[in-house]
Symmetry: D2
Subunit: 352 residues, 4 copies
Amino acid sequence: MAGNSFGTLFKVTTYGESHGKGIGAVIDGCPSGISLSSEDFDAEMSRRRPGIGAFDTPRREEDRVEILSGVFEGLTTGASISLFVPNKDARSKSYEILKRLFRPGHADYTYFKKYGHFDFHGAGRYSARETAARVAAGVVAGKILNPIGIKVDAFTVELGGIRVDSIDMDKIKDSPLYCPDQKAGKRMMEALGKAKEEGDSLGGIVEIRVAGCPPGLGEPVFDKLDADIAKAVMSMGAVKGVEIGAGFEASRLKGSENNDPITPEGFRTNRAGGILGGISNGDEIIIRAAVKPIPSIGMEQDTIDREGRASRISMTGRFDVCAIPRVIPVLEAMVKLTLADHYLRFQAMKIN
Amino acid sequence: MAGNSFGTLFKVTTYGESHGKGIGAVIDGCPSGISLSSEDFDAEMSRRRPGIGAFDTPRREEDRVEILSGVFEGLTTGASISLFVPNKDARSKSYEILKRLFRPGHADYTYFKKYGHFDFHGAGRYSARETAARVAAGVVAGKILNPIGIKVDAFTVELGGIRVDSIDMDKIKDSPLYCPDQKAGKRMMEALGKAKEEGDSLGGIVEIRVAGCPPGLGEPVFDKLDADIAKAVMSMGAVKGVEIGAGFEASRLKGSENNDPITPEGFRTNRAGGILGGISNGDEIIIRAAVKPIPSIGMEQDTIDREGRASRISMTGRFDVCAIPRVIPVLEAMVKLTLADHYLRFQAMKIN
Amino acid sequence: MAGNSFGTLFKVTTYGESHGKGIGAVIDGCPSGISLSSEDFDAEMSRRRPGIGAFDTPRREEDRVEILSGVFEGLTTGASISLFVPNKDARSKSYEILKRLFRPGHADYTYFKKYGHFDFHGAGRYSARETAARVAAGVVAGKILNPIGIKVDAFTVELGGIRVDSIDMDKIKDSPLYCPDQKAGKRMMEALGKAKEEGDSLGGIVEIRVAGCPPGLGEPVFDKLDADIAKAVMSMGAVKGVEIGAGFEASRLKGSENNDPITPEGFRTNRAGGILGGISNGDEIIIRAAVKPIPSIGMEQDTIDREGRASRISMTGRFDVCAIPRVIPVLEAMVKLTLADHYLRFQAMKIN
Amino acid sequence: MAGNSFGTLFKVTTYGESHGKGIGAVIDGCPSGISLSSEDFDAEMSRRRPGIGAFDTPRREEDRVEILSGVFEGLTTGASISLFVPNKDARSKSYEILKRLFRPGHADYTYFKKYGHFDFHGAGRYSARETAARVAAGVVAGKILNPIGIKVDAFTVELGGIRVDSIDMDKIKDSPLYCPDQKAGKRMMEALGKAKEEGDSLGGIVEIRVAGCPPGLGEPVFDKLDADIAKAVMSMGAVKGVEIGAGFEASRLKGSENNDPITPEGFRTNRAGGILGGISNGDEIIIRAAVKPIPSIGMEQDTIDREGRASRISMTGRFDVCAIPRVIPVLEAMVKLTLADHYLRFQAMKIN
């Protein structure tokens, strides 16, 4: 059982490599009667594309989503929905070095070990391009969540060790880094510039907030909402940690500090992050993801070749300095997929 | 689709409440020919039971696992294996208050919202007792992992804000807190004593290490090994965060610091935590879980009753001060279940 | 992935062998708030037990279902429901011959080939006793179907080559063979008596009718309602064929004869058997299952031993002459499980 | 959970409508290192296309399969494989009548009831065109079965009530009807001609034989090999019945007649059809499928419109007279998909 499907009722199967014909997602389990057109994808797809000022790769595909099936006269039919995003800009030349050497921090080594060979043109299946299919599927998930009033927003709370001092959600949309603190955002940009000069890269922490989630979503004891969110978030190659609500900080609090008192007006605090016992409690769901620095760097590193001989590698070409801006719409998409799936699961059991 | 099953090929379905007839696990997908007897479970089951000195509940069930099916003449037959752990000590009296009030930090509120009513005798399905079934299933998973040489060990790296200074794996087995640093362990015990006096509780951080995992386990792009481990770990009610390798710290490193250089002798460092691109790389797998303080505390807290009226609650009876010692064998079990499942998945694709 | 689970949303996992501690079913995905007690199972469980006059094995267990979990104060809680049926009458002595010889028509040979060894005490996992767990789970499925008005009834339309001339549903409950034609039933009993004298066995055809099924159940293109029913029915060891509506006879009709004309009052005929394009059409669902003669016979047969040497085997002891009476409640249960699952699947997609 | 996926380890998800951009299949779970190219599909795809002499629709697409992902330098990579078959000949004009009327024997009515609206251009998702994706996926399944020596062949044993007298497998490839009896085949052709004149259609019975299947495939107790084959075969819209080995005829045999005696040289007869207790026994697997007459006929029939008013419908245009020739490669594909999946499942449990 390979792992290219996500979800149980709202089930998404993705495919595609960075330098093949394109990438795609098939959604099996989307209810009928939902309006859907190719244009619905444009905004999210363009968010995922590279492009913050001077700091990322200039490759600039026009990622238009083609709907190959499942929609008739503008409405979903209940049949499986096939979404396709053609690859436009396939440059294999700059990846010749990958035929020989394993890049540190990349999956070259493990794919080679697992599958016996690997698609060295642009990292094949583990290319970041794969996430375009996630974003496309996330748009359809959003169509299920919107009418219920569920809203998912992700933003940067830390980058290169610089943490925000305050969170002003209105500032996010104006920031190329999705930073809710204008001052911190400025310092983050400076840190990015410095890292770029050094041929190095930076990581950071993204917070995802879900507003409007009704109580009751999540299926104990294993498919708890936080468990499935953790999987969704950790399924991103760049993510090395995930926490809910107070998260790791909760481990340092006492019970009397960490418990959220319940009042007739609702929970007084939200250290639980909107989930109790694996089930949404109606409060805002709060998730944080630790994003590692991009492994492709200009600095020379130790590695080995396919025969196991010591070698040195330095990546030329233009690379992003930080994955966060591109990761943010994907993280939102993954959380949306999780919530849409759990909403249908919740729905299935409401027989009375 | 309810969530009481874990795994895809090595699939475990659990059931049972704290004060019913017992709890159990059915394993569908265990290969035939593996030796298994009731005694195989004793050591792990007794680790999960409460009992560190003065700091935990005196309830002391003899958790013996009965094998109801799937084993013949001491060997697994390939049929589904049914494991049952009878409840011996059902005291419902002390939980009368739960008929009326929602306990802060517990799942009373969300279960009531989701299922319309709830089993107030000892928290029903979301009782910690549920995890006994996980431990029992984990023993069977271990039977698959042992011959391959995969070993899973968990220990305490932080408790009540006290962090270990060093890790000496040999110290773990002598410590009631599974603490690999004797001095830190002593301070942790003092902190527990103090919290107990105050009627409060503490949390901490558990590290899980997997030795001997061959490269190749994990199924991109969604069922990555780290993604499935994150789900497994976060499916514990007490866990609010999970990280792999450098984890959240990785978000503060530069690419040049975070990338593990590859040498003919292997990876020079292990910031990746043994997983690259969602596939095990042959190195030690390193996981950390943030455990929240136990929500049941003696101190009085604000809450509401089922009709939504403001009330105060203070839990009487004896409660654990910290979940960590009981959580550790369960976390090991969850990681074992994940690895056994991924090992069979890996195995399925080896057709040549 | 072993095959001891059935269903996707209403998911049943069974376990147990004929001569172990008992057999059981765990249901994951039963909605909360449904009344359920141990007594609810008695009628169906006693139907499955052997006992038509002189023609079947005198073994007569009291099959009482114990509810081990998932029910609180008489109502399902939404947690996994564990049902257990203890084995009362474990006689292993009469099966000693199975240690050495493969019985023709039984699964001895294939289990040995697949699993390397097998539980020769009463056929282990492939004993007919396994179906007791199906019947128990079917009772819970019935609790979901009853309020919707879905009713499932199975009866004998052919036995030992004797076919019914007419179908009077009221006659079924009075017939030990569930035969809806009193005269034919009498001749079937005579045929059974004769076969018994000869040390031989008989097969037959069972028809299952589902009344009250609303239109819309079934999930094209693979999980069509008829496809899942076919699997459910064929998953019975004794069944060698299954047909829907006109079935094999449809293959001999012309399109103009086989098409059911549609009128404002509904379908004029029902050759489709209540399913069109894999989706229920609101009409009665009609299924037929071909049941093979019981392979355990007194007559001597050729076989081989475990080392592959030619041998002869004749089964002593008392065996049923025909599986049909015991198979009928199990077939009803399997169809109920399929319908309950599809009802929840249907329900999940009704988001508007 | 919608039903557009088939299989568990070798998992195929299909999409596409008859008059959209195309149809496709995504295969998740194909092992790496298998040679695969676009040409590999040509032979099977052209078998599925219409075209027996004068008796079928003249629509003649060039069904070329595009590999969108999962193959690199001619070998599968272990990533999900995306296969796409563009629609070339989209004529919507002739289907205008479907906007208003439900065609008897078709799924118009049930799709409308289930999904609220339906794609009336050429029957949308329930068009026979959907099966092109099954055939494409079946080719990849064949790549797994071929090296093991498993071979799947289907042929016509009855058409329009005319049954073959003998089976000569060498005759099949020369017969437009895949008929293994030249004389019977001739009479079948005459029957087709006559039905065509009358504006009517015919059905028949297809037999599928699997040679070279090793013992051990099949996962009791629910995912028995025959159960999964029954589902696979019945998931074809045109199939109304399925039987294994002696099938319905077994229900008329005595135990002494139906049991296959076991000898040192193997089973003396094969009434079991190669499957015992749901597990392949190493013998030839024999399956028969009842194919109904095509519902689209020229003769006028009673029906209703979307508002439920009585009406008459007669299908103009050119339609196939019998589905069998086109169904045969699809049935082969479905059996191949089932076997490839079960082979991987078998493989997963071979850990020793």
